[in-house]
C-alpha cells in the first residue's frame, strides 16, 4: 500500500507553498502600488480595495469543497493504520457501526472549520475567469466525493487493503487540490513579472 507520510507531506507542502505564494503576491502588489503613489496607506486598506466579488454560488461551492477536502484527507490518511499511530479504526465500536463515518467526518469538519471557512476568502484577491470558475465548481467537489467514496470502500474491507483504490483516492484528492488552488497558481505569471 502506498499509504504513508510522504503522500500526505506532498499535499501539505503544496498547500503551504500556495499560502506562501499568496502572501508574496499581496506583498508585491502592495509595494508596487505604494511606489506609484505618494499617499501613505496600510496593507489592510489595500486588501479591502483589492477585493473582488466572486459570486455566492462560487463561494458556497468553495467552502463546501474545502470542508470536504479536509474530510477526504482525513479519511484517506487517518481511517486505517499507516500514516499515524492514531487512526479511526482504533475506535472500533464507532468504526464498525453503520454511521460511524458520519461521526468521523463531522469530527474532522469541526476540527478544520476555521481553515475551511477562511481559505475561500483568498479567492477575493484574484481574478478568476469564468472558465476556471466553471472548472472548479464542476469538478473539485466531484473529485473530492470520489476520493471519499474510495476511502469508504477501503474502510468497508478493512483490515484487508486495496492499493489501487487508495491510489485512486489519492490522485483524485490531489487533482481536487490543484483545482482548488488554480486561481492562485494562474497568478504566478503576474508575480513573476
Amino acid at each position: 500500500m502506498t499509504m504513508g507520510l510522504f503522500p500526505l507531506v506532498v499535499i501539505l507542502v503544496i498547500m503551504a507553498g500556495v499560502l506562501v505564494f499568496h502572501y508574496l503576491y499581496v506583498d508585491k502588489i502592495y509595494k508596487k502600488v505604494k511606489s506609484t503613489s505618494n499617499s501613505g496607506f496600510k496593507k489592510e486598506e489595500l486588501l479591502t480595495y483589492l477585493e473582488l466579488p466572486q459570486g455566492s454560488n462560487f463561494n458556497t461551492f468553495m467552502i463546501a469543497s474545502w470542508m470536504l477536502f479536509f474530510v477526504a484527507l482525513a479519511f484517506l490518511f487517518f481511517q486505517t493504520p499507516g500514516t499515524s499511530p492514531w487512526y479511526y479504526f482504533q475506535v472500533i465500536q464507532i468504526a464498525s457501526s453503520e454511521f460511524g463515518l458520519i461521526a468521523f467526518g463531522l469530527a474532522v469538519m469541526v476540527i478544520t472549520a476555521l481553515a475551511a471557512f477562511n481559505i475561500p476568502k483568498v479567492y477575493r484577491y484574484y481574478i478568476v475567469s469564468r472558465s476556471i470558475k466553471a472548472l472548479m465548481v464542476n469538478f473539485s467537489l466531484l473529485l473530492i466525493m470520489i476520493s471519499i467514496a474510495l476511502s469508504i470502500y477501503i474502510g468497508t474491507i478493512y483490515p484487508q487493503v486495496d492499493d489501487l483504490s487508495w491510489s485512486l483516492g489519492y490522485v483524485t484528492l490531489l487533482a481536487s487540490l490543484i483545482l482548488l488552488i488554480m486561481p492562485i497558481v494562474c497568478s504566478l505569471k503576474e508575480v513573476a513579472r
Binding site: 458556497t60 470542508m67 453503520e98 454511521f99 467526518g105
Partner: protein, 478 residues
C-alpha cells in the same frame, strides 16, 4: 494528712511504751537475765525497726486484716471537749431506680453527714462499697480501695450550720454491662471510724427517702437481642438443592452482648430438619450458606421448608416468627449429547450462529431445566449469549439458540462455546463444551460500498458540507 499524722503519733507512742516495757534493744535474749544460757535458745527480741517494717508491710498488703486490727487497737481518741457523735452515711442515687439497662451510665454516691460541732471531735472514717447481685444471697465488697473521709474533708454545711456534709463517688460502678443476670441489684456501704463498724443498711438513723437510701436497690432489665432484615436469598424463586441458598439476618443487641444465633430449618409441619449456630457480635450480619452447612440434599428436592431463628445474648433467648422457604425444585439427571454449531461459512462477527444440543431426562416425565449458552473469545471470556428454561422430556429435546453471540472485538479470533444447565448430566457435570471451526472473520464493517449505509454516509457528508457552506457564505461572505 491529719489522719496519717495521728496514726504515726499513735504508733510512735505505742512503740515508746514497748521500749519501756521490753527495755533497750541491746538487752540479751532471754527474760531470765541470762541465767538459762545454752538451754534451748530464748525467743529473739524484736527491735522497733523490725516492728515498723512488719507494720509497713502489713499496711501495703491489701488483704492483710491484721493491719486494720493494729490500727484500731492503736487508735487514740482525738482530744476534744465533747463526745464524738458518729457521722451518718447514706447511699445517694439521684435517678430512676427501675428499668435500668445494663449499658446505662450510672453514678452511685455516698453522702456523709457529721453533726459534731468541732472538726477536732470528728474521727476519720473508712467506707467500703458492698454489692449484692441479682439472685445472690450475700453482699460482696467491690471497693478496690476504701474511701477515706478525714476530719477536714467535709466540704459543705447546712444553712443553720448545725452539721457538715460531703459526698463521695464510687468509681467502681459506672454501668452494669458485666451483669450476667438481671433483676434487683443492691448496694450499701460498710463504714468504720476505727472504733465502731456499721453499715448504711443497719444504721437506724438512715431513713430511705430518695435520693438518700440505707440500701440502694436498682432494678436492672435486659433488652433481648433481635434480628433485622431477615431474608432468604436465592438465585431463583425455586432453587435447586445444590444452588446457593443464603439465610441472611442483621443482629441487633442494645447492650452489645455477644449474641448466639441459631437457625432452625423445618418442614411444613414444623418438624425440625436441621439447625446451625453462629456466635456473632451485635451489629453484624449473620449469614448461613446452605451449601456450607449441608442443609439440603437431593432427597430434599421438590420439598418445601420453613425456618426461624433463636437469638440469645446469654440472658434472654427469643425466637423469631416462622418464615417460608426455600421451596426446592425437583432435581433430575440428564443425558446430554455433544453440542453442535451451524453458521455461515464467512463467520462474520455480526452474523447469527445456530447452537444446539440434545438433552433427555433420565427419569420419567418432563423436567424444566434452565439451559444457558456461553461463548468464549480472548476478548470476551464466557459471555452469556442466551438463556432460557426448557422442558426436557425422557424422549429427548433439542435445545437450540440462533443468536448473534459476538461483538466487533471478537473479529479475527478463535472461539469456543458451551451449554450450561442447572441439572447434572450423565457425567455428573452441568455443562458441555464445543469448539468453533476456524476464526471469526476479520472484517469489521458490516456493510459494503454499494449498500444503503455506505450511500447514506457518503450523502450525509455531502449534505452537511453543503448546508454548512450555505450558512457560512450567507453569514460571513456578504
Amino acid at each position: 494528712m491529719n489522719r496519717k499524722l495521728v496514726c504515726i503519733l499513735v504508733i510512735f507512742a505505742f512503740l515508746l511504751s514497748l521500749q519501756i516495757v521490753v527495755g533497750p534493744p541491746t538487752t540479751s535474749a532471754g527474760s531470765s537475765g541470762g541465767s538459762g544460757g545454752g538451754g534451748g535458745g530464748g525467743s529473739k527480741q524484736m527491735t522497733i525497726d523490725d516492728f515498723i517494717k512488719v507494720v509497713t508491710k502489713a499496711k501495703d498488703d491489701k488483704n492483710n486484716k491484721k493491719y486494720e486490727q493494729i490500727r484500731d487497737l492503736l487508735y487514740k481518741e482525738p482530744t476534744s471537749k465533747g463526745d464524738n457523735i458518729r457521722p451518718v452515711v447514706y447511699m445517694y442515687f439521684d435517678g430512676n431506680r427501675t428499668n435500668i439497662t445494663r449499658t446505662q451510665p450510672l453514678k452511685i454516691m455516698s453522702y456523709i453527714k457529721d453533726t459534731n460541732p468541732q472538726d477536732s471531735m470528728r474521727r476519720v472514717i473508712w467506707l467500703y462499697l458492698q454489692e449484692k447481685k441479682p439472685g445472690e444471697r450475700s453482699y460482696e465488697e467491690i471497693s478496690d480501695y476504701p474511701q477515706i473521709i478525714g476530719q477536714s474533708d467535709y466540704k459543705w454545711h447546712n444553712d443553720q450550720g448545725n452539721y457538715n456534709f460531703t459526698t463521695v463517688d464510687w468509681p467502681e460502678i459506672t454501668d452494669l454491662r458485666d451483669l450476667k443476670t438481671v433483676g434487683e441489684i443492691r448496694f450499701m456501704v460498710n463504714a468504720s471510724d476505727g472504733r465502731d463498724k456499721w453499715t448504711t443498711m443497719n444504721d437506724e438513723r438512715v431513713k430511705d427517702e430518695a435520693p438518700f437510701f440505707g440500701e440502694l436497690v436498682l432494678n436492672v432489665v435486659n433488652t433481648p437481642p433481635t434480628l433485622d432484615n431477615i431474608s432468604l436469598i436465592t438465585q431463583n424463586a425455586m432453587p435447586r438443592f445444590r444452588e446457593p441458598i443464603e439465610y441472611f439476618a442483621h443482629v441487633v443487641d442494645n447492650e452489645s452482648d455477644p449474641v448466639t444465633v441459631t437457625l432452625h430449618i423445618q418442614d411444613l409441619n414444623y418438624t425440625e430438619k436441621i439447625n446451625a449456630t453462629q456466635d456473632v457480635k451485635s451489629g453484624v450480619d449473620v449469614v448461613f450458606m446452605a451449601g456450607d452447612y449441608g442443609f439440603f440434599s437431593k432427597d430434599d428436592s421438590g420439598k418445601n421448608f420453613t425456618y426461624y431463628y433463636t437469638v440469645s445474648d446469654g440472658i434472654n433467648t427469643t425466637n423469631t416468627s416462622h418464615f417460608m422457604g426455600p421451596n426446592l425444585r425437583k432435581s433430575v439427571t440428564l443425558n446430554v449429547d455433544d453440542p453442535k454449531l451451524s453458521a455461515e461459512k464467512s463467520q462474520y462477527w455480526w452474523q447469527d450462529y445456530n447452537f444446539s444440543i440434545r438433552m433427555s431426562n433420565q427419569e420419567a416425565g418432563t423436567a424444566k431445566v434452565r439451559v444457558s449458552l456461553e461463548t468464549y473469545t480472548p476478548a470476551h471470556q464466557w459471555k452469556t449469549a442466551a438463556s432460557d428454561d426448557w422442558d426436557i422430556s425422557g424422549d429427548g429435546t433439542t435445545v437450540w439458540y440462533n443468536v448473534k453471540p459476538f461483538l466487533v472485538e471478537d473479529a479475527n479470533q478463535s472461539f469456543k462455546y458451551r451449554f450450561v444447565y442447572d441439572e447434572i448430566d450423565q457425567h455428573s457435570l452441568n455443562s458441555r463444551e464445543g469448539i468453533g471451526e476456524g476464526k471469526i472473520n476479520e472484517k469489521l464493517v458490516q456493510y459494503s460500498l454499494f449498500s444503503i449505509p455506505a450511500l447514506l454516509n457518503w450523502l450525509a457528508l455531502l449534505c452537511i458540507a453543503m448546508v454548512g457552506a450555505i450558512l457560512i457564505e450567507r453569514r460571513f461572505y456578504r
